[in-house]
Structures are given as structure tokens and as C-alpha cells.
């Protein structure tokens, strides 16, 4: 049974920043949606269905915000769908939206992911006690630091690797006008001297709290062809995959989770990729703490176990390297949590459309978008290409 080829013909995002006090939640999502529609040469009237995603409702203090956002996103009289799969949600939301086109349910779907973190303090929203679970009173960094220490111990990676990743991503962000953090004066020394938050994660190696939204318009093959004929080259979806595993299970490897490895394997099989390092031209990987770049490079099969840090050390993941990772500046530079996954997915699409501006990877034809969530047990990924699958 064949599925419909899905084309991304519109991408729009807000300028991400610590506090968007000038707009309401509706205003924020609408800004991204209108930019994506404009990019697609469409209006809300052209859209058949809207799929939105965000991280926990507690972050804004608004339960099931899709209900309130129906008007702002032009969804009245249409299907309005809300996805929530932890930190991977931006990615899963894009996948759920693409399925509506792939399954020939709808021809034109608008998808939006957002977070307005300034409405609350995510650190504390992430620190409520769960009965019978280890408390996470130090936010996500406190949760993930032990995983990173385990990675360093296993791989023998030298201390400076995390700082190199942070420096690279923050410098990439200088080429991305939408990125939250623009730190022109950043140096290796300034990263090294920044305060240690959760050993080995320094302040400059951790993601910011951002307000922001990302939106995409997805259409079927005929409409994708029309956009291409009109000189607006779409990004074509080659493969999508999602995997989940338990939070706590005996023998679970939290450093290189099996769900991540299997998600990547399923993704590559679907996209016909046998050597991801050779065949993928650019990767947008969910790296909220610097050390996750080498960890995910291994988990995603770009290199053998224990070798990820060597790619970082050799500059392979830099904008001009063989496998540019997070040319946009990544989650380390921009983190509206619920949107962060979709930003990865959409930045991958921008790369293969050749529309990434100053942070464009030269000649990118095939790109990976990756998102993870929870305690590294939820994964969403896609491969997009300049050519049809």
C-alpha cells in the first residue's frame, strides 16, 4: 500500500527570545503560522487541518491550549489536533501532521509547536515530585548530568569536548537571526570559565529558556510539484520514525538508549540510507546540554560507540565540516521546549530547500531532524530531501 509523498512548502518561526512580553500565547503561535503560510503562498483559508504541539501545559498554566488557540490558528470548523510526547513533541507533532497528508486524509496541513517559557519557571515545573520516583529537584540538567558523566567514563572523552560543542553551536547561532542567544564575544575561555551548574555541565553548555514558535505547511505531491514549478522548492519527507521505552527499567542504557538506536535504524531503512555519515549532508540534533552531541552521534549511528567525541574534536560537526550538526545554533542557542523538536525538523527542511541563509550548509540535499524527550526515552526523527523520495 503506497502512501502519499509529503512536501514541506512553508516554514515560519518567531524570533526566539527570553520573554516575548509584547504578544499573548495566541499572538506568538500566530506569528509563526502566518510566516509559514506566507512562505507557502497560502492563507488560513487554504488549510484543511491544524496540528499543534507543546511540552507540559504547566509551562504556561494553560490546560489543553489547543482549545483556546483554535481561533488564532484559523482552525474553526476544521480538525484541530494536539500532540504531547515530552521534549520530542516538536518532532512528533510534525510527524503526526505529515501522516495526515501521507495517509491522504488531508491535502494541506498547518503544524505549529510553541513554548512561552516566560509565563512560568520551567525549572520548577520540571521539579514536581512524582510518587515512587527519584526526585528531579534540579531540573533537566540535574537529571542528565549523571548520564553525561557515564558517557565520559565509558568513552574516555577529554574534558574540553562539551565546551567545543557549546562554542560551535553558539557561534553558529550568530548566523541565524531567529536564534535566541547571540553572543558575539564568546570564546573557548569564556565557556570554560562560566559557572559549573551540574558537573560537568557549565552555564554556557546548557540551553536557554525561550519564548518561541515554529510552524510548517505540509502538502501532497501535486501541490508540492506546483510549489516547485513556481520556484518555491519544497523539502520532501523521505522517512519518519518514533520510538519510546520505559523511564526506568533494569538494564536500560540511558547513555545510548535502545529506543534511539532502533528509531534511527527504522528511519534509515525507510529512507534507504545505509551509511548515514556519508549520505546525510546536515543534521539538526536535539542537544540541550553540550555533551549530548557526541552521545547522539553514536546513538544515531554516525560513528561507532565511543567515537562521537572524536568527530567533535576533529571539527567534523562544524558548519564547514563533513557532517555539520546544528548549523542553526541548535537547542543550545534556542529552546522554547515544545517547539525545539520542530525547530530541528524545520531547520533540516530549510537546509535542503537551500533557505537557511547564512547558516546554509553548502550543497545540502538530505538532512536529518532529531528530537528526544523525557529522560532520553522518547525519540522522533525524520529525513528530508531536496529530491522526492
Amino acid at each position: 500500500m503506497s502512501t502519499e509523498n509529503v512536501a514541506i512548502v512553508g516554514i515560519g518561526q518567531t524570533h526566539h527570545t527570553a520573554t516575548r512580553g509584547d504578544v499573548s500565547i495566541a499572538g506568538l503561535v500566530r506569528e509563526a503560522a502566518l510566516r509559514a503560510l506566507d512562505d507557502a503562498g497560502m492563507t488560513f483559508a487554504d488549510i484543511d487541518a491544524v496540528v499543534i504541539g507543546k511540552a507540559p501545559d504547566f509551562f504556561e498554566g494553560l490546560m489543553m491550549p489547543e482549545l483556546y488557540l483554535a481561533d488564532a490558528l484559523g482552525a474553526v470548523g476544521k480538525p484541530m489536533f494536539r500532540v504531547h510526547t515530552a521534549g520530542s513533541v516538536g518532532g512528533s507533532t510534525a510527524i503526526v501532521a505529515s501522516d495526515l497528508v501521507a495517509g491522504r486524509i488531508h491535502r494541506r496541513v498547518l503544524t505549529v509547536a510553541f513554548e512561552k517559557q516566560s509565563e512560568s519557571e520551567a525549572m520548577w515545573a520540571l521539579s514536581t515530585p512524582f510518587p515512587f520516583q527519584p526526585p528531579m529537584h534540579a531540573g533537566a540538567g540535574g537529571y542528565f548530568a549523571p548520564h553525561i558523566r557515564a558517557y565520559i567514563r565509558r568513552s574516555g572523552a577529554p574534558d574540553h569536548i562539551g565546551m567545543l560543542v557549546a562554542l560551535k553551536d553558539r557561534r553558529n547561532a550568530l548566523k541565524n537571526p531567529y536564534a535566541h542567544l547571540h553572543e558575539p564575544d564568546i570564546t573557548f575561555e569564556s565557556v570554560q570559565e562560566s559557572i559549573m551548574l551540574w558537573d560537568p555541565i557549565r552555564y554556557s553548555e546548557t540551553c536557554p529558556s525561550s519564548d518561541g514558535a515554529m510552524a510548517m505547511v505540509m502538502v501532497d505531491e501535486a501541490l508540492g510539484d506546483e510549489a516547485a514549478a513556481a520556484g518555491r522548492a519544497p523539502a520532501w519527507i523521505h522517512a519518519t520514525a518514533m520510538r519510546s521505552e520505559p523511564t526506568l527499567a533494569a538494564g536500560r542504557d540511558q547513555v545510548s538508549p535502545r529506543a534511539g538506536r532502533e528509531c534511527a535504524a527504522a528511519l534509515y531503512a525507510q529512507a534507504g540510507i545505509t551509511n548515514p555519515f556519508e549520505e546525510i549532508d546536515a543534521a539538526e540534533i536535539y542537544v540541550p546540554f553540550s555533551w549530548f552531541e557526541p552521545m547522539w552521534l553514536e546513538n544515531l549511528g554516525f560513528c561507532a560507540e565511543g567515537e562521537g567525541w572524536k568527530l567533535v574534536d576533529a571539527g567534523v560537526t562544524a558548519l564547514d565540516g563533513d557532517l555539520p550538526v546544528n548549523a542553526s545554533g541548535g537547542v543550545l542557542s534556542t529552546n522554547p521546549i515544545g517547539a525545539s523538536g520542530m525547530i530541528r525538523f524545520a531547520e533540516a527542511a530549510l537546509q535542503v530547500r537551500g533557505q537557511a541563509g547564512e547558516h546554509q550548509v553548502a550543497g545540502a540535499r538530505k538532512a536529518l531532524g532529531h528530537a528526544y524527550g523525557g529522560g532520553s526515552q522518547f525519540f522522533a526523527m525524520w529525513i528530508v530531501g531536496a529530491d522526492k523520495p
Binding site: M63, L67, G77, P79, M80, V83, A241, R243, T247, E262
Partner: protein, 350 residues
Amino acid sequence: MRDVAIVSFAQFNSPGERQRNEVEMMMPVIAQVRDRIGIDKDRIGFVCSGSSDYLAGVPFSFVTTLDAVGPWPPIAESHVDMDGAWALYEAWVKLQLGHVDTALVYAYGKASPGDIRRTMTRQLDPYTLGPLWPDPHALAGLQARALLESGRIAEADMAAVAARSRNAARSNPHAVVSGDESAEALLAEPTTYDPLRDHDCPPVTDGVAAVVLAAGDAARELCERPAWIRGIDHRVDAHAIGVRDLTTAPSAALAGERAGVTAGPVDVAELHAPWSHQELVVAEALGLRDDVDVNPSGGALCANTIMAAGLIRLGEVAERIWDGRADRGVAHATSGPCLQQNLVAVLEGE
């Protein structure tokens, strides 16, 4: 469209589940929905769930409840912060793609630990309506008042819905409320949220529901008489109650039309109408004739597990198709204040 059917269903509802947490409450139901058709967890191709962090009182509450399905080795899985009926919709879409043949859908909610009347106000426009903390009974009361003033219904019609539902619930072991009162007796009771009386309002309910979907031959193999989903659609209306005609549910009408409700005779309809007058609004929106057996389970007036009550409607219709009591049925789910968002499915036997 690929033929997809509901092949198994299980539910649990309680007026207050104090002894067990969500996972403990879910595990027997997940086991039951699999055992009923003898399906192993590893044969499930996709899992999708619906729940709300605002009921559990913790962010990412669905993360821990995933343990109830035993997601090891890793599974293809997704979650919506919507009633489980929409999780079923996502799974139905996934089955349309043809990569997998079966899906497990579940939804749960525990309303009893908190004050659900205050919790639900957090669902409203956070700038203009939420700060007023209008509770869901008050909003439903405004809707009922608008209906009464329009002359389309009388208070006796609402009492008739409540009486019929409570009597029907007497034969439903999953109902948390039931009664044998006449409509006249109910009408004699005092109003609580004028014009609503207690029996016009849903009971606080904790619970869980689970469904297995299967496509084509897999459905026929797992179920003697699958409940085929012949049409399914969902739509949303504007949020602000001030801009809507509360006496109608345009999104329910549109979803019903697109699902094909009136394309054939309807034997049974399970309508997700937590307040008595809402059943009348939805039945009219869907164009149901007077001879349709509406809410033989007792409906949401007798067990209203928030986040699962819509999915339960789909399961209740499927049950009646499996055992031949119905050939064609309609299931409806709603979300948001005053029937803002609606999903409609048409199920048929072969």
C-alpha cells in the same frame, strides 16, 4: 481508506480510586483489552494514549503511565493531551499508512484527587475567561439557559434524558451513578447550577479505557464481527463562548456529516454529553432520528472519566456491534467548554 475496526475494548470507572495510582489502575484494563482477543503486547504495531497533566497534577504524567503497557523492547508510540477518542484518531491515521496492522489506544484520568470544577477552568482563555474561574457546571448552565430561552427544549426534556440515562446505567457495571427515578421525580429536585439539577451534571469519575484497533484481515482474525470504522472526523468551534450560539454545535454537525452519520440507519448512538441538555444538542447536530437508541450505557451522565469518556463511547458502540445488538452505530466525543470540539465516528458490522 483502509478498513480499520475496533476489535477489543475494556474500561474501568470509579467514583474515587483512592488506593491505586494511575499505572496501577490501568494495568488490569490494559491486560484485559489484550486478553479479550488473545493478543500479545509484541503484536501491537502502534500505541497512542490520551491524558491531561492537569488531572494528574504533574507535568509529563503520561511518561510514567506508559509503564502500564510495558514498552520494552522499545515501541512506536505517541500521546495526545486530548480525550482518548482523538488518540484513537491518531492511531486510525497511522493504520491508514499501511506500515502496521494493529494499534493499542488508551486513556485515563483521575479527577477525584483534585477539585475538578477549579481544574477545568484552566482550560479557558487565560487572558479573558480563565481569570474569572467559571467552573464547567456554570458554563454548562449558561448553555442550558440559552437552550431553554430559545424554546427548543424544556426542563422536562433535560430530566427525561437524565432519567433514561440513569435507568440505562443500572445494567452497566461500569457506571458510577444510576437510578430508577422517573423524569417527574427528578424534575422535582432543587436546582444546583440553575437551571441544572444534580442529575443534569456528570459525576466525578476516575477511570481508564483501552481499545485495540486492527486493519483488514488482522481485524477479521482477531474478532468474529469487527466494528468497522466507516467514517471518522473531528472539528473544532471557536473557543470564546460569547461568539458562539451555544444552542448549537456546528463542529459536531460538520464532523457528523463528514463521518457519514445520515448515510444509513443508525441503531445505536453513544453521545459524549456530560450535561443532560448537551445530549439534545448533539443528537440534533448529528441529525439522529427519534428511534435511535441513545446512550444505552447511561452515557457520561453516569460515568464521566475525563480524557477517557469519549473513547468509552467508541468502545460501547463497538461492544453492541460485536454481539449483534446493532449493525450500525454512531460514537461521539467532545472536549472544551460547551461542546467546543467534537469527534464523530460511524461503526458498522459486516
